[in-house]
C-alpha cells in the first residue's frame, strides 16, 4: 500500500529532512507517525502525496512509484488518497456540501450522482444537518469533519491526516479521532501524523516515530523483534 525504502529527502536550504527511512504500511492498516515538530512527519506525508520530489530511495503508493511519477500522473495518485490537514483547508466561500462536492467535480465525476454521494459522506461524518453551512459558521471540529468528508468522498484507499486534531479542543479531538478509527474499521488505511501521545496510547495501532528525520521506532518491527527475542 505505502512502502518507503531507504528514503532520504533533502531541501535545498533546509538540509536533510528525512534520512534513510524505510517502512511499509499495509492495506487497511492504521498507522501513527509521531515525533516532535520538525522531525519529518509532514515530509513523509508530502512525499506520499507527491507534493515534494524524493531525493533518494523509493516511495511506492497504491501502485505508483512516487520517485518517478510524472506531473500528469500526480492527480491520478491523489484521487486514490484522501488528505486532511491541521488547518482544514476548506474553501471559505463554499458551503460544507459544496466543499465536498468540489472534490468530486474536479475529478470529473458524473454530475447526477454527486449530491447523493456528498450527502452520504456528510452523514458518515455526522454533519448532514449542516450541509448548507459555510466554514465560518462551523466549529473547528465540524470544519475538520467537513475536510474528512471531502477526503472520503472519492473513496480513497488511504487517508492521510497531518495533525488533524492539532487545532481542536479535547472533545473535538476525541470525536475526530473516533471518526478516523471508524473510517479505518470500514477498510480504509489511515496514516495520521500527530505529536499527541495521549491519542497514540489510546489505541493499539502501529506507531512509527521519527526523530530529526530518522526513523527511530516502528512498533511493527521493534515489537515483533522484542517478542521473538523474549524467551
Amino acid at each position: 500500500m505505502i512502502k518507503f525504502t531507504n528514503v532520504s529527502k533533502a531541501f535545498p536550504k533546509g538540509g536533510l529532512a528525512l534520512k534513510d527511512v524505510s517502512f511499509h504500511i499495509q492495506k487497511g492498516e492504521f498507522g501513527f507517525l509521531t515525533g516532535h515538530s520538525g522531525a519529518g512527519k509532514s515530509t513523509v506525508l508530502r512525499l506520499i502525496y507527491a507534493e515534494e520530489p524524493v531525493t533518494s530511495g523509493e516511495v511506492r503508493v497504491s501502485g505508483f512509484s512516487v520517485a518517478e511519477i510524472s506531473r500528469r500522473e500526480v492527480p491520478k495518485l491523489r484521487r486514490r488518497l484522501g488528505i486532511v490537514f491541521q488547518d482544514f483547508r476548506l474553501l471559505e466561500d463554499r458551503t460544507a456540501e459544496e466543499n465536498v462536492a468540489f472534490a468530486l467535480e474536479v475529478t470529473g465525476a458524473r454530475r447526477a450522482g454527486i449530491a447523493a454521494r456528498v450527502m452520504r459522506v456528510l452523514t458518515q461524518v455526522g454533519l448532514a444537518a449542516k450541509a448548507k453551512a459555510y466554514p465560518r459558521e462551523l466549529s473547528g471540529g465540524e470544519q475538520q469533519r467537513v475536510a474528512i468528508a471531502r477526503a472520503l468522498v472519492n473513496e480513497p484507499t488511504v487517508l492521510l491526516a497531518d495533525e488533524p486534531t492539532g487545532n481542536l479542543d479535547e472533545r473535538a479531538t476525541r470525536g475526530v479521532f473516533q471518526l478516523l478509527r471508524d473510517i479505518n474499521a470500514s477498510g480504509t488505511a489511515v496514516v495520521m501524523a500527530t505529536h499527541d501521545l495521549d491519542l497514540v496510547r489510546q489505541a493499539p495501532y502501529r506507531v512509527i516515530e521519527l526523530q530529526e528525520g530518522a526513523l527511530v521506532y516502528d512498533s511493527a518491527v521493534d515489537d515483533s523483534r522484542g517478542q521473538t527475542a523474549a524467551p
Binding site: 502525496y49 506531473r71 500528469r72 500526480v74 492527480p75 491520478k76 495518485l77 491523489r78 484521487r79 488528505i83 483547508r89 476548506l90 474553501l91 466561500d93 468540489f102 472534490a103 467535480e105 474536479v106 475529478t107 470529473g108 471531502r150 472519492n154
Partner: protein, 285 residues
Amino acid sequence: MNLTLREALLTFRRAPLLSALSVTTIAFSLFVVGLFGLVAVNLQQALRSVAERVEIVSYLLPGTPVETVTLALKDIEAFPEVQSATYVTEEQALARARSELSEFRDVLQELERNPLPASIEVKLKPAFRDVDHVNDVADRMRGFGFVDDVRFGRDWVEKLDHLRQIAAAVGLVVGAAFAVVAIIIIGTTIRMAVLQRTREIAIMRLVGATDGFIRRPFLLQGAIKGMLGGVVAIALSYGAYVVINRWLIHAAFFTREQALAIIGFGTLIGFFGSAASVGRHLRRV
C-alpha cells in the same frame, strides 16, 4: 451549467471588487489603444480625402479633333491605374474658370478669344495615388501626340507620399507601444486575480484536479474580462468621439469591424494573459 463556466462566473460573484477592477483596468488600457486607433483612423481618412485630389491634367494642342480625344479617352480609361478620365473642352474650361474665379469674371467676360486649352483630367484608383504611379501615367499621357503638356503637382504628391509614410511609421510604432503597454497592464491584472486564488488552486490540486481542469476557468474568466474591458473601452472611445465631434473637429468613428477587432484584441489578451499567469503559477506550486 458547465463546470468551467460556473467556476469562471463564480469568481465575479465572489470577488466582485477585484473583478470590476480588472475589467476597468483592461478597459482603460484598451481605451488608450482605442483613442490612438481613432486618431489613426481619422488621419488615414484625412489623407485619403486629400489623396482623392491627386489628378493628372493633360492639356491638349489647339484644334485636336473630338474623335481623336474620344478614342484616346477609351485607351486611357483602360490603363490599370486609372479610375476615370474626363474630357474638358475649351468652353467647359472657360465656364469653369468663370464660376470658380469670380474676381476675374469681368476680365474673363470680355475675352474675344478663349485662351484656355482643352484638357483630359485623369483620376487614379486609390491604390495608385503615389509618386511612382502618377509619374508613370503622366509619361504615358505625354506619349499622345495631341498632348501639349502634363501637370500633376509633383511636389504636392511627393509631400503626400512622405506624409503617408510618416503616418504609417508613427502609427505602427506608437500603436505597437500602446498595445504592449496594454498587454503588460492586463497581464498584471490577470496575474493578481490568479494570485488571489492561490489557496484555492492548492486545494484543487490536493483533491486531484488536473492542471487542465484548474486552468480552464481562469482562461475563460480572463477572456470574459478582456471582452468586457473591450466593450467598455469601445463605449469610452465612443464617448470621446462624441465630445470631439461636438466641440472640436468633425471626426470619424470605428467601423463595426474595427470595434470588433478591439474587443477581440481584449479577449485575446485576457485569454493569453491568464494562460501565462496560471501556467507560471502551476509550475511553481
